[in-house]
């Protein structure tokens, strides 16, 4: 029964099968972690939306046997979230669009200023982060 342990960072990693039904659970987790960082519900909603969106994009990208999508949330001086999936991710507008300038990535790019997308070998990582004040 430890208590009052000093810690500098706190993290949670969740891996889901590529099942769209599980994306909501990831949103629930993201919101819970965000709420630890700040009670500001607008911030919590933004994190919920962005993480859910990143996760939905990765889950929607390929067949359900393409391996899990992993979401890493770390809370330190920033709330950092990485969404990792095996396989390439189509970042461009892959469908014929007759509405100019809209595409699935528009929302995520609009939400996250510092969105970074990295290919490493076979996997793709989406990274995003938010500044947070003191963590309780």
């Amino acid at each position: 029964m430890r208590r009052g342990v000093t810690r500098t960072s706190t993290g949670i990693t969740v891996s889901i099968a590529r099942d769209p039904a599980l994306v909501r659970t990831v949103r629930l987790i993201a919101a819970a972690v965000a709420r630890r960082a700040s009670p500001d519900e607008e911030f919590v909603e933004e994190v919920r939306l962005a993480v859910g969106e990143a996760c939905a994009l990765m889950v929607g990208e390929s067949a359900s046997d393409a391996g899990p999508v992993t979401v890493r949330l770390a809370l330190d001086t920033r709330l950092c979230v990485d969404v990792v999936a095996a396989g390439p991710v189509a970042m461009a507008d892959s469908f014929d669009s007759d509405v100019d300038g809209v595409e699935p990535w528009a929302l995520l790019r609009g939400l996250i200023d510092d969105l970074s997308i990295e290919r490493d070998g076979d996997s793709t990582t989406l990274s995003m982060s938010w500044p947070v004040s003191a963590v309780a």
């Binding site: 039904a21 939905a56 509405v99 100019d100 809209v102 699935p104 528009a106 929302l107 609009g110």
Partner: protein
């Protein structure tokens, strides 16, 4: 209280509810819950079904929508294209800032006619 109900429905795992009414030549779809990568196909199927039945003037009431992601947006845009192909219309009812922000960020606020209430939507048709 809205915030209250929203959270509860989230933890309870309520996903999407769809209720359809007809009023003055329009078809109003009242959507409740979360429109996301999992539930959006249900909304898409409903729109496809209505258009298949010759209902080309749709009003999507999103007042009870708690969450919307890009999959949901895609279904709305897809629906708009479908009704336009029949010279129809699809308008949205939404007065939640959280959702309006999503339409603004994606540029879709300019693509859709968005009303603040059902009364407005039916008055301005």
């Amino acid at each position: 209280m809205t915030v209250f109900v929203r959270r509860v429905s989230r933890e309870l795992g309520v996903d999407l509810s769809l209720e359809t009414r007809h009023e003055g030549g329009q078809t109003i779809i009242e959507v409740g819950g979360e429109i996301d990568v999992y539930t959006a196909p249900k909304l898409r199927d409903k729109i496809t079904e209505l258009v298949g039945n010759g209902e080309y003037n749709l009003v999507i009431d999103m007042e009870k929508v708690d969450f919307l992601d890009s999959t949901g947006l895609g279904v709305l845009v897809g629906g708009l294209k479908k009704v336009r192909a029949h010279d129809g219309s699809m308008r949205l009812i939404c007065n939640q800032e959280r959702l309006l922000k999503i339409f603004r960020i994606t540029g879709l606020a300019k693509v859709f006619v968005i009303h603040g209430s059902q009364a407005d939507a039916l008055a301005e048709r």
